[in-house]
């Protein structure tokens, strides 16, 4: 177990190094930020002075080494726009994103497992079709449009829920609903196919032969087996959660990282982009390790080695 964690941490470090490099390359490929930072009236000599002051005139490799040196000390430079430390800009906003994404993740899992179990336990084809078509309909609507529809209905028309910023419990409702419902159809399909696999397994016959009822066997015997592949799928879909956050944070004026990143990208604020990507990648890597550990705890057949 210790050995496993050590290996995984080494892998994680490598992953983060690769992400650091990739971020650097991609951000530099996106072009020169001076055109955006300076007013249109600026002539080219002044632009050159500005570029030099930011260190953008140095050879690419030198910039890369400086960047890596800084990254080791968690120093990603200062925001080209605001002048403050780039990492602070991200860390200040990280809790809002983590809260939104975390709650959405938990809600989406509970929602999917709850509905999935109801479908299995009732075994009603009609209910299944109803729930699944609802989820599919939601999946077919882009998150952006879905969020706006929620705002217009619950925010503007009924005025039940706030939709600007993060103020208290009720402000979570619509962003969480948007994010957590996006993957519902996918999760229900995964659960459905896993359940039908498990239900035909021989241990289910043993369970019935022991005197278990069908519902009891589904919950106690099949469910733990279904949970394993489900966790893997959920972990794989964390990326979608982050992509979804970008849209949701923008629409709901959420003070999180994702929206700040979009701003930073349009403004070519390299230090902020880099700090943000590294931060998100780190969270992602950690969550994936956790998902591995959780599924290995659930599946006795997997040895952590």
């Amino acid at each position: 177990m210790t050995r496993y964690v050590a290996i995984r941490l080494a892998q994680a470090a490598l992953t983060i190094y690769l992400i650091l490099t990739l971020t650097f390359v991609l951000a530099r490929m996106a072009g020169d930020p001076t055109a955006l930072l300076l007013p249109a009236e600026t002539n080219s000599e002044d632009a050159a002075i500005y570029r030099k002051a930011l260190g953008l005139d140095k050879p690419m490799f030198e910039q890369y080494i400086d960047y890596l040196k800084g990254a080791v000390h968690l120093d990603f430079g200062r925001s080209l726009r605001g002048g403050g430390p780039a990492l602070d800009f991200i860390t200040e906003r990280l809790p809002a994103t983590l809260k939104l994404a975390g709650i959405s993740l938990v809600v989406s899992i509970i929602l999917a497992l709850g509905l999935g179990l109801i479908i299995e336990l009732t075994n009603s084809e009609r209910l299944r079709t109803f729930i699944l078509s609802g989820a599919l309909l939601r999946e077919a609507i882009p998150a952006f449009v879905f969020a706006l529809m929620l705002i217009l209905l619950f925010g503007v028309k009924l005025q039940w829920l706030p939709f600007i910023g993060m103020n208290g419990f009720s402000s979570y409702v619509m962003p969480v609903a948007t994010l957590s419902s996006a993957t519902l159809a996918l999760y229900l399909r995964v659960l459905r196919s896993n359940f039908s696999d498990e239900r035909s397994k021989e241990y289910m016959r043993t369970a019935l032969a022991k005197g278990e009822s069908r519902s009891y066997a589904i919950i106690r015997e099949a469910f733990p087996n279904v949970l394993l592949p489900f966790i893997t799928v959920v972990a794989l879909n964390l990326g979608f959660l982050i992509v979804g956050s970008v849209l949701v944070e923008t629409v709901f004026s959420w003070p999180g990282v994702a929206y700040a990143m979009v701003q930073a990208v349009t403004q070519r604020d390299f230090p902020v982009i880099q700090a943000g990507v590294i931060m998100i990648a780190t969270v992602f890597v950690i969550v994936n390790i956790l998902a591995d550990i959780v599924s290995s705890k659930l599946d006795p057949r997997i040895e952590l080695s």
């Binding site: 300076l38 009236e41 726009r81 403050g84 952006f144 449009v145 217009l152 600007i164």
Partner: protein
């Protein structure tokens, strides 16, 4: 980042429009009956205003972009640039040396900062020293400054490399920060609790890059609002929704297509002012056939600008005759070129254009209604025999190509006039980094606008604009959309083309 399929966006926009219509219809029926609570007495109110982008910092000495509106209420500058020209603010008066190279401001040292500390030339010196540091984005607009000095507590002097009559706009509009306070708390401390001399004081930060300000009791003029919450609300749809629910009080840049819907809501007021953003076509004159004056003239005559205003802006705008437009100081007010397809065809034929397709690049954002505008332009050009290939670019990519002068063929862009004509001149006429033609006559005409003042300068501006537009056709101006604000009815809200005017003008 991801790029979205345009058809999806169109479908999404259509469905949003439908839902929005439904929502607003319902809303207005419930609010029917007694209307017009608007135009009541101006009561001091607390208002919420959306910021399209979060503030990374609140520091006018290092940030040129995000905080414009906020800085306008928190800080004061040497002069107040009103529509009728500069008005004294922190400076009582100013004088220009005969050679136009020395600008001397006389400061009003009876004024104080919001923390009660006195104001003098040391504060101005500190502010401009910061802005003139290498790497500071303000350097771009202050590049003609050779040196600065503060000879006495109530005088401040700029020495320039070249004369420019519009320097009062450039230098006079910079927010001044209190030197002692800034140095004692440092840049980060200042950003967390900024102090200025403006009509509103910093109250508290709003989560996610917003700020709350309250009227400063010691400011010489009483303010229309008790407090203003600047809340980051990036999505335009959310801004409108916020306005409809009363969460927000003012929304700027309302789409023309939404005006009628919003007007039907008695709780809202629509304020429309002349705009200052001109959409135009520019030519890369280094290439054929754009190098031909006949070709450029032909293109200039090819558009029915009034029809474009009606269809593309739903009538909320005007046809443009030049790039320097009202209400900019010294605008020449040229008439829009007359639509004449026959003359256009003849001119293009005369130019020897071989009928091959020409690139027409445009940014997909910033330019209002970008895709539809580009398609309309392409269609008019096609009618007079000019074939174009549309090249949509995201704004930042466009900006880089634009700054690097690598755009081939022609491009469409929308550009904001400043309060003075020099904004357009330095960006698009005066050999700066975005000018795609070289013309000694234009250079001479530009110099004249910078070395003269008063009526002589107004004449010089008119001559320059006529030269660039009507004689040389270096640009084909298209139209200028109005600036449309929607606000809670009953607010003392009177914006102008350049500013929402949350602070009472002098």
């Amino acid at each position: 980042m991801r790029s979205y399929n345009r058809r999806w966006i169109a479908a999404a926009a259509a469905s949003i429009a439908v839902v929005m219509l439904a929502a607003s219809c319902g809303g207005s029926s419930s609010g029917g009956g007694s209307s017009s609570s608007s135009d009541g007495p101006a009561v001091a109110a607390d208002i919420s205003v959306p910021l399209p982008a979060p503030l990374a910092v609140i520091d006018p000495t290092v940030d040129t972009a995000a905080g414009g509106t906020v800085y306008g209420v928190l800080f004061r500058s040497l002069v107040f640039n009103g529509l009728d020209g500069p008005v004294p603010a922190l400076a009582k008066s100013w004088a220009i040396s005969p050679d136009g190279l020395t600008w001397t401001y006389t400061l009003d040292t009876s004024l104080k900062f919001q923390d009660g500390s006195a104001f003098d030339s040391a504060d101005v010196l500190f502010t401009f020293q910061k802005m003139l540091t290498a790497g500071n984005p303000h350097l771009g607009t202050l590049s003609i400054v050779a040196s600065i000095e503060a000879p006495t507590p109530d005088t401040f002097v700029f020495h320039l490399k070249t004369p420019n009559a519009a320097f009062i706009i450039l230098s006079g509009g910079k927010s001044i920060v209190p030197s002692d306070y800034y140095q004692s708390v440092g840049a980060d401390g200042f950003s967390k609790s900024p102090i200025g001399a403006g009509p509103y004081k910093f109250d508290s930060a709003v989560a996610g890059g917003g700020v709350k300000v309250t009227a400063w009791a010691d400011y010489p003029i009483k303010q229309p609002f008790k407090s203003i919450d600047f809340v980051p609300v990036p999505s335009p749809q959310a801004q409108i929704a916020g306005l409809q629910t009363g969460t927000l009080d003012v929304v700027a840049n309302v789409a023309a297509s939404q005006v009628e819907t919003l007007k039907s809501d008695s709780k809202l007021k629509i304020t429309e002012t002349e705009g200052n953003n001109v959409a135009f076509i520019a030519f890369n004159t280094g290439q054929a056939p754009m190098s031909s004056l006949d070709f450029r003239e032909g293109v200039d005559l090819a558009f029915d600008r009034d029809a474009m205003v009606k269809t593309l802006l739903s009538g909320h705008g005007v046809a443009a005759g030049g790039l320097i437009t009202q209400p900019t100081i010294g605008y020449p007010d040229l008439d829009a070129p007359k639509y004449d397809a026959t003359a256009a065809k003849a001119a293009i034929k005369k130019s020897g254009y071989d009928g091959s397709a020409i690139n027409l690049t445009y940014p997909t954002s910033v330019l209002l209604n970008a895709d539809l505008t580009a398609q309309a332009v392409a269609s008019y050009l096609n009618d007079v025999g000019v074939k174009v290939t549309l090249i949509p670019l995201d704004y930042t990519t466009f900006l880089q190509q634009w700054a690097a002068k690598t755009i081939q063929g022609m491009y469409i862009m929308g550009y904001n006039n400043g309060i003075d004509a020099d904004t357009i001149i330095s960006s698009l006429y005066a050999g700066g980094s975005r000018v795609l033609f070289t013309d000694d006559a234009v250079t001479t005409a530009v110099a004249l606008t910078r070395t003269t003042s008063g009526d002589v300068r107004v004449k010089a501006l008119k001559a320059l604009e006529e030269l660039v537009m009507e004689t040389k056709h270096y640009y084909a101006p298209l139209m200028m959309p109005n600036v449309i604000y929607a606000s809670t009815a009953g607010l003392p809200f009177t914006p102008n083309a350049f500013s929402p005017m949350y602070a009472a003008p002098k």
